[in-house]
Symmetry: C2
Subunit: 162 residues, 2 copies
DNA sequence: TATAAATTGAGAATAGTTCTCAATATTGTC
DNA sequence: GACAATATTGAGAACTATTCTCAATTTATA
């Protein structure tokens, strides 16, 4: 995987082109947001992002954040996932393969996984229903390896709703 | 599949037992909500439900609805799904097998499907990550058979993100 | 420098949901 | 039935995440 610095400059170039194509500007605020977002690989929420903007005299308003994220989404740089029903998380997609998530309901840990088999079967189901899939989300909720131990969750639990 | 009337009385019995076990009461409001919910099989949103309550002098407040739905959820009678990111839908689960959803982004149509193969592979992935799954959601978004035709969506579109 | 177009931030507005609390209903007991 | 203890309800306030409004500012271009 490329270094964050290189990723960042590629992402900026991508964003710049996207914006240019729509007669939009790569303003300092948008550039700053991009900088922050592509300086880490974790999932982030809007609140976090807003916090991270508030350092060094500089700041970006919530309004601008709410306006910018959908732009980055359309540019294919990030995507929104709602692993916790209450607030949306965003994640860098520009340098990542598609993946799905497991979320530990005890500690909140997020595990990413790719599974070609599942994806293939999804396509089959779509074909069967004559449905053209443009995107999908698969979320598994439960107990991570660590919480399973500390909470003594039985493996049987898993089979109940599997 | 059993008739709605029989389902309804079973659901009421189930809810009554659940409530009794927690020293809660099956009030007229709760009973009325159950009546409305188990009189149809479609997915419903809170707004709809609230509307349906407002007939015949009788009414149930939003506050009560918001308090009652989580109870029914815990009782295993309904579940919440958020197919449209903006507002939650609920659906009767008491007489239905587990299933997942396809949602048409053009017309909003919801298609339900069951796929044992996918579920099995999910379990495998969990095993691999030593993760105890308690629930999952799989959502496919795209174009239904009808909208595909009227909008002349190419089948190739589907393969892009599949 | 002048002009037009795009952008920003503050704060108002919206909407979905939860909370508060006084009034009401239910349950079990005498 | 009367009573005390508990649970429930609805109205409206409160909260929170998100969107909208608009005047001031920035940027691009000529
Ligand atoms: Mn991820
Ligand atoms: Mn369904
Ligand atoms: Zn955990
Ligand atoms: Zn459709």
């Amino acid at each position: 995987m490329k270094s964050l610095l290189i990723q960042k400059s590629h992402a900026r170039e991508c964003f710049r082109n996207f914006l240019r194509g729509k007669n939009l500007l790569l303003t300092t605020e948008r550039s700053r947001l991009l900088d922050i977002i592509f300086s880490q690989r974790r999932h982030f929420c809007i609140y976090d992002l807003h916090q991270m903007c508030q350092v060094n005299q500089q700041k970006v308003s919530l309004a601008t954040i709410y306006r910018t994220l959908p732009l980055m989404e359309k540019a294919g740089l990030i995507r929104a996932v709602n692993l916790k029903a209450d607030n949306w998380l965003y994640e860098n997609t520009y340098f990542k393969h598609h993946h799905d998530h497991m979320v530990c309901v005890a500690c909140g840990k997020i595990i990413e996984f790719e599974n070609v088999g599942i994806e293939k079967m999804q396509s089959k189901v779509c074909k069967k229903h004559d449905f053209i899939m443009t995107e999908h989300t698969l979320e598994l909720r439960g107990y991570c390896s660590h919480c399973k131990k500390t909470r003594k969750i039985s493996a049987l639990l898993g089979s109940k709703t599997a």
